[in-house]
Amino acid sequence: MSKITIPLGPQHPALKEPENFMLVLEGEQISGATVNLGYNHRGMEKAAEERTYIQDLYLLERVCGICSHSHTTCYITNVEELAKCETPKRALAIRTLVAELERVHSHLLWLGVAGYEMGFETLFMYTWRDREQVLDCLELISGNRVHYSINTIGGVRRDITAEQKAEVLKRIDYLAERTSYYIKLATEEATVLARTQNVGKLPYDVAIERGAIGPTARASGVARDVRKDEPYLLYSELDFKLITADSCDVFGRLVVRALELVESYKMIRQVLNNLPEGPIAVKVPMRIPAGEAVNRYEAPRGEDIHYLKSNGTDKPERVKVRAPTLANLQSVAYMLEGGWLADVPLVIAAIDPCMSCTDRAVVWDPKKGRKQTYGWEDLRKLAIEQYRRRGVDFTRL
């Protein structure tokens, strides 16, 4: 049978954000796949250099619509580290609480998207209805459903009252009950099993080699979670399990996320029942002392890395964001090859991609004032140039 190449994206019903996958098909099977990024670059890192630290907080929150708290928390940890400020324990607890609520909302959203991509619309409708509960919790605590803006430099903006605590606990109980139903549904429904088992295989070695992170890696048996490896916020004091699966397929990713929901409920209850007393924020000067800081954070989709360089003024000199999707995308091409066309949306969705967090493509040279997009050829030429100056010749490679 002759090969046909079909484009999946940048505009496609399965993709919520613009990205492109070129699929080479032999009948219904995929013999090759390439991932193309760069349709959604927003220049946020550059914009962050033009704003003050506190303004950046609201800018970086908009890096991602789902893990907004992850990005601000990671960034703010850097700022507080440079400012050498002692963040109150109660503020850390509230940040942990919002972080876990965010994970619940993100994982429930993912479960719905996965249901939708495998054509199980009922699962999609059910999970998204229940997701409203956790969004209501977030609104109750922070005043906002999506961009919570609970963080501020030196602490958090709002305290948690006893009524809020009771309300959140009530809703978490309801969600825990619903989640056990979804776990049962996802692990017993024959068509779900048929669509997820042995689909999008990512063996342990390949997951390591391609640097997969978050639930994608954990579903391949890689026990890697920043919350355990390098605890931040209050995670060192919380009792939770690191969930892994060794089926290495979409089913494993589904199970890992579903079980992580249960762990998150556990953590939310622990935090709420042991809220430390004290202030929720301390004053931090506008000017941050010069220095560099790097921090890691386990976002719902995986490890988020923020780098911050300060020059002693009230604006950062450089902000660098490495969103989790960028790390996981390397595995997608591997997972797609040899699979079925019908599984493509599900395999892509299984890493829980967030393209707008990831995209960066344009190089801007402020000295010459010109913009340039680097293609593969240009990058190769640059790399060869660079190494030749060091005395290594890669021309013939």
Binding site: I6, E28, G115, T191
Partner: protein, 313 residues
């Protein structure tokens, strides 16, 4: 006058107009039922009609690379085939025209829309439509045989290839209707595949290949294709009703039509239930399922009917 009455029947009731209106109504019932089962509001009753009128007003775009004449004529072919099929199926107490062997003719006529879907996708020449049309044809080979086998069982039992006579046979032997349960279930699932509804909406699975075979269709041409699918639901439900459930159950006049409406609504409910219960399966899983399970079930029904026939004499 002699010629006008059949013509009026073909155009008004139970012909084109009834089929179109009832098709749109069943589309609404289906959408509303799914919505309620999925915890949603669902559309108001006039939504299918509004959609139909809106699409009529939209521009028709024919791709440059497509065979323009074929591209334009196919939706009407699909609709005409479905409408012709209804002529032999009893809606009230009797069919418009019935003849020995009309069961085979109806099966054949119901295959025509599927073939037009394939040609529609193929003549569009776009990648998604091409993949979609390949899937249409692959899927046809999966469900068509179980559907035919399932329909043959009652025909053997009734000793007739005439749909109206099969219905009349079951009306006079209602005790034999429960014995057709296996065949009915197989036919229902195969019909779901024929109508390309979840979990068998593989040819136009929107997350995978956008609009599938209809990707390049727009405006009134798409509208008539969609109407043909709605009509196919009515005709499919009417066929199952006549062959498996005894048609009008010996009633006449308005009562017969009421029974027809009630039973087709029940069949629509069952089809909607299938739609919300499952995830879409892959094309190769569908072929496996149809040949490994569905066809043997239908075959078991045929064997069972042959034995029953021998017993009744």
């Amino acid at each position: 006058m002699e010629a006008i009455i059949p013509l009026a029947k073909i155009i008004l009731f139970p012909g084109f107009l009834f089929l179109a209106v009832y098709g749109l109504f069943l589309q609404w019932v289906d959408r509303k039922l799914c919505a309620v089962m999925q915890n949603r509001m669902g559309p108001p009753w006039f939504q299918p009609a509004a959609d139909f009128i809106k699409l009529l007003a939209k521009e028709v775009i024919v791709p440059d690379a497509a065979d323009a004449a074929m591209f334009r004529v196919l939706p009407f072919f699909a609709m005409a085939a479905v409408m012709t099929a209804l002529v032999a199926i009893p809606v009230g107490s009797s069919a418009l025209f019935s003849f020995q062997g009309d069961l085979v003719a109806v099966i054949y006529l119901l295959t025509v829309p599927t073939v037009t879907f394939f040609l529609a996708g193929w003549s569009s020449t776009s990648p998604y439509a091409t993949v979609g049309s390949m899937r249409v044809l692959t899927q046809l080979f999966a469900y068509e045989v179980p559907l035919m086998l399932a329909l043959i069982g009652p025909a053997i039992l009734a000793g007739s290839w005439n749909i109206s006579e099969i219905a009349a046979f079951f009306s006079s032997h209602p005790a034999l209707i429960p014995a057709q349960l296996l065949g009915f279930a197989a036919a229902l699932i195969a019909l779901q595949g024929k109508l390309e509804r979840l979990p068998f909406d593989i040819p136009h699975a929107k997350n995978e290949i956008v609009g599938g075979q209809f990707t390049e269709y727009s405006g009134r041409l798409l509208d008539f294709f969609l109407l043909a699918v709605d009509m196919e639901l009515v005709v499919g439900a009417a066929l199952l009703n006549a062959v498996f459930l005894g048609g009008a159950l010996g009633l006449t006049g308005a009562a017969a039509i009421a029974v027809f409406l009630a039973k087709t609504l029940v069949i629509t409910f069952l089809l909607a239930l299938l739609k919300v219960l499952m995830a879409r399966i892959r094309i190769e899983q569908m072929i496996n399922f149809c040949w490994k399970y569905l066809a043997p079930i239908a075959m078991a029904q045929v064997v069972c009917d042959i034995l029953l026939k021998a017993k009744i004499g």
